[in-house]
């Protein structure tokens, strides 16, 4: 009872109209909560998540099976704040949560939600995220190890298919932002496994602003594929600097995170053309490959003024999974978290059934087994075209460019 | 002719009524001395006149105009110069820069600045010798010299010096008193606050005795020197 005291005029977007007639009983709107970084270091990623989730609710028409659903957002600039907001929303009656950007407190929630009986759909991709069986905690997105190994496999494949170099003779230049060391580590393992040699292997701190030494090193070395693993704030200056120094690597194969973002596209065709990148789930795949992907892309751009990042799609996907689970339940049962969790657990959706292309099928530890299909894109004339896998493809890859 | 006068001045600091209705004046071309024990309020008085402390009530007149509670910079601009007590110099400026700051209000007149600098250097040759060194490295007495030199640089109509002889060698004090007398002879009015009451009163035209924030006695230098109370309380005879 006491939890309502500060629920007024807050995060919840209160709807004053009564539920439409004809749907039978009147229910409280069902709340799905997301705590994401709306202030602080990663505001832009946080907003992307927020936009994606908002759009999902909008497209669902704000109701499922006749009961209203609404998104509740809260600001979680830090771990501590995220946890505090989680407790607040929980106190206000929220029992369904989706990760926010950066998934900063998901590991904490992984150990907490069972006791609290709140469903949590996590987009975190940490290898050791899940530490045991759980009824309420689900990893719906990809696993970083799969992603990283997949990327190296892709690189090797490009080497073999287009450059005609077998994997164990392939030489790469590997440059990464040390903040992404968790992606780099499995990649490094995979490279060792395939016998790929890293001629240049450079990690740099996120704050680095001067890339000339690294680029000069790359210029001086001989390699076949350049694999950058960068974030937005360092990728842009890096690419600009390469362009200024008049240097183009033979083949660039980025691994997610930055090279598939619209921000990168702003650099212009001269820079982006021909660059390939592996992404987890991305809005830029063939329109018919996943239901609703086209609508998502178009509506997003229309509402928010810029092309969606893959982050928006992830949050969007998370909400859709709730939607699917709720659809299979009677609205009266929604307030029973056990039932909602069971419904999530029981989901069995194939690839392509959801807008984000990935399917849903949880293993015994609640990890999504159908989130391991990655996509390779290539920038062609200012557009991100999907070149792999076959079924999602929008174009053939052009390697080497020109 | 009265150059500066203080009428019924009251000052409160930190909740204390420190100056309790002080009246005194300095005539044009006069050398006036204020003596008094520690904590009597002498420094507070001159700080208030020069605008560093707020004056709660009363009046400070200078050249027939009221300067009570004007900003310190404006008061300085009118030709009232104050040499504060206890080495209030600019610790990280060089000795020369410290002296030059005294000439700030007539900085445009380079020649005059240079001349005045030479005068001060003649008075304190040590300063010329070490002019490029930063002030905080100077010895205690040398710092006092810088402070006084800076005051002299400003060519004021009236100069108020707080604790002129603090930390100076006897020989320097002696020559300094001479200089003061000479300056006075050129027409500059001087208000001197001095612990070394004997020497100060000797050269003074008039003197005041201050006790607990009020003026308790007034007279010519000689009168005060020969006063029994002054003798026993301040001269230590």
């Amino acid at each position: 009872g006491c939890g309502n005291s500060d629920g007024k005029g807050t995060t919840e977007t209160k709807s004053t109209e009564t539920t439409e007639a004809g749907t039978g009983k009147e229910y409280e709107p069902y709340k799905i909560s997301m705590i994401t970084q709306l202030t602080g270091d990663n505001t832009f990623g946080g907003n992307e998540y927020k936009n994606g989730a908002e759009l999902a609710i909008k497209q669902l028409g704000g109701e499922i099976n006749g009961r209203k659903i609404e998104m509740v957002f809260a600001d979680g600039p830090t771990q501590e704040a995220t946890l505090a907001e989680f407790e607040r929303l929980y106190n206000n009656g929220s029992r369904a949560f989706v990760s926010g950007y950066g998934c900063i407190a998901d590991r904490a929630f992984a150990s907490m939600v069972d006791e609290m009986e709140a469903t949590y759909l996590s987009l975190a991709w940490d290898a050791d995220l899940i530490q045991g069986e759980s009824d309420y905690f689900f990893r719906i997105g990809a696993n970083v190890t799969d992603f990283a190994k997949g990327a190296i496999e892709q690189a090797a494949k490009i080497g073999e298919d287009y450059l005609k170099i077998p994997a164990d003779e392939l030489k790469v230049a590997f440059v990464y932002n040390t903040r992404l060391a968790h992606v780099m580590e499995p990649m490094k393992e995979k490279m060792a496994e395939l016998g790929i040699e890293a001629v240049v292997f450079e990690g740099y701190p996120t704050d680095t602003k001067d890339f000339v030494p690294i680029i000069t090193k790359m210029q001086s070395a001989e390699y076949d594929i350049f694999i950058p693993l960068q974030g937005v704030t360092d990728g842009t200056p890096f690419q600009k600097k390469m362009f200024e120094l008049n240097y183009t690597p033979p083949v660039t194969f980025g691994a997610g995170v930055y090279y598939d973002t619209p921000i990168f596209a702003e650099l212009g065709d001269d820079i982006t053309n021909g660059i390939m990148t592996q992404s987890y789930t991305t809005p830029y795949i063939a329109d018919d490959a996943a239901a609703g992907i086209k609508e998502f892309r178009e509506e997003y751009e229309q509402i928010y003024g810029h092309a969606p990042l893959t982050h928006a799609l992830q949050a969007y996907g998370g909400v859709y999974i709730y939607a699917k689970a709720l659809e299979s339940l009677d609205p009266a049962d929604w307030d029973d978290t056990k039932k909602v969790a069971a419904a999530v657990k029981a989901l069995d959706l194939d690839f392509g059934e959801l807008p984000w292309y990935w399917g849903v099928k949880f293993d015994e530890l609640n990890s999504n087994t159908r989130a391991n299909q990655f996509i390779t894109n290539q920038w062609i004339d200012g557009k991100l075209e999907c070149v792999y896998p076959e079924n999602l493809k929008t174009r053939d890859a052009i390697v080497p460019w020109k | 002719m009265m150059l500066m006068s203080v009428e019924n001045m009251n000052v409160h600091l930190g909740g204390l009524h420190i100056i309790q209705g002080v009246d005194f004046h300095v005539n044009e071309g006069e050398l006036v001395v204020i003596v008094g024990a520690n904590g009597a309020g002498k420094s507070t008085t001159v700080r208030t006149i020069s605008g560093l402390n707020p004056c709660a009530s009363g009046k400070v007149m200078f050249e027939d105009a009221e300067v009570t509670n004007m900003s310190a910079a404006d008061i300085a601009g009118k030709g009232i110069s104050m040499v504060p007590e206890g080495r209030q110099l600019f610790p990280e400026l060089t000795a020369k820069e410290n002296l030059l700051m005294g000439a700030f209000h007539y900085r445009k007149n380079r020649k005059l600045v240079q001349e005045q600098l030479e005068t001060v250097y003649n008075m304190f040759p040590v300063l010329k010798k070490y002019e490029g060194r930063i002030a905080s490295t100077f010895s205690g007495g040398e710092q006092q010299m810088i402070t006084i030199g800076r005051g002299l640089m400003s060519r004021p109509k009236i100069m108020m010096i707080d604790e002129l002889s603090l930390g100076l060698a006897p020989i320097v004090i002696e020559s300094l008193f001479k200089v003061i007398k000479e300056l006075n002879a050129t027409g500059m009015s001087i208000l001197l606050i001095e612990q070394n009451a004997r020497q100060a009163l000797k050269i003074a035209d008039r003197g005041y005795v201050m006790e607990n924030g009020v003026i308790t006695m007034e007279g010519t230098g000689m009168e005060l020197l020969n006063n029994e109370h002054v003798k026993s309380a301040y001269l230590g005879l």
Partner: protein
């Protein structure tokens, strides 16, 4: 019980030693030729000049005005966003935007000084500027969204020989920072106004007794430092991407540069900036970029311990005050 745990540590270290602990130490870049090195050094010098530029205003504020402004980075970042939005999004011609931003900055500095920074108390200053830092960052986030912005101006490179080149914008920044820092140094040391500023900062009472309008001169000096922030910010956006937290990094760099130069030594800051640029370029080439921060900041600590008064400050001028 602890004994066992100690053993575990040793085993852990032992294991690490074999796989990855030590392979980081391989000297890198052994395949590079001379002109590559020259290029890197030139670049280091230019970047160093840039460090000088970014720290110029801070150097002035902290060194001369004795005021640790923790909203410094945020102010710089705000200028960058304003420039971007003025030119890119609102399509105002650059020659109008730039003076406007300078005026805005000047006014902001004046306002800050008049409203916020009256109090001399150190703790109060820290709180107010840190709070202002939060406010600016979040205002920018709210008004401009947190989306990183980039003018994407590609800089021209000036080719000295076929293989050796310098970035034109970088070079401009380099020259500008030289002019600003050395100019400011001369201004402070040689002119009456400069001396007045320094004297007010060192002893407010004594300065007013000299007839200096201390409040006014501090207002102006502070506003002037904000003008510098304006100039630096506008130049930075042509090279770097702006995001709300960009300022934090700049602030750290400014700390490092100014402190190892010796607080108050503005031309020293220029020299130190260059030194930082070159050293960091060399660390990146010889040890690898991941060692950059660790070695650079480690070195910074060592410099502080060995020459606490700054690299370019002679011992003679430093007094122990009693």
């Amino acid at each position: 019980m602890l004994n066992e745990e100690m053993q575990v540590i040793f085993i852990f270290i032992e294991r690490k030693r074999h796989d990855e602990f030590f392979d980081i130490f391989i000297v890198q870049g052994d395949y590079m030729n001379l002109s590559a090195y020259i290029n890197i050094i030139f670049n280091g010098i230019c970047i160093g000049g840039l460090y000088g530029l970014t720290s110029s205003a801070w150097s002035f504020q902290c060194g001369a005005l004795k005021f640790a402004n923790f909203a410094y980075g945020a102010s710089l970042m705000a200028t960058m966003y304003l420039t971007y939005f003025g030119i890119r999004e609102w399509n105002i011609p650059a020659f109008i935007v730039m003076p406007l931003i300078l005026i805005f900055n000047f006014g902001l500095g004046m306002l800050m000084r008049k409203v916020l920074l009256k109090n001399e108390n150190r703790g109060t200053q820290i709180i107010t500027t840190m709070a202002l830092n939060l406010i600016i960052i979040n205002l920018v986030t709210f008004v401009f969204t947190g989306f990183p912005r980039d003018m994407a101006l590609l800089e021209k490179r000036l080719y000295i020989t076929e293989t050796i080149s310098i970035g034109a914008t970088q070079f401009t920044a380099f020259c500008l920072s030289a002019v600003i820092l050395i100019g400011f140094n001369t201004f402070l040391k040689k002119t009456w106004t400069g001396r007045a500023i320094r004297s007010v900062v060192q002893n407010r009472d004594a300065a007013t007794l000299m007839g200096i309008q201390s409040e006014k001169i501090l207002d102006q000096a502070f506003a002037l430092s904000y003008l510098l922030i304006g100039i630096s910010g506008m130049l930075l956006i042509t090279m770097f991407q702006a995001e709300p937290n960009y300022g934090n990094y700049i602030q750290t760099i400014a700390f490092v540069v100014c402190v190892s130069a010796g607080l108050g030594s503005l031309s020293g800051a220029f020299g130190t900036g260059i030194l930082v640029g070159v050293i960091s370029a060399l660390i990146q080439t010889l040890l690898g970029s991941q060692w950059n921060d660790i070695v650079l900041f480690g070195l910074f600590i060592v410099i502080l311990l060995v020459r606490p008064n700054g690299i370019f400050v002679s011992k003679k001028n430093v007094a122990k005050t009693f």
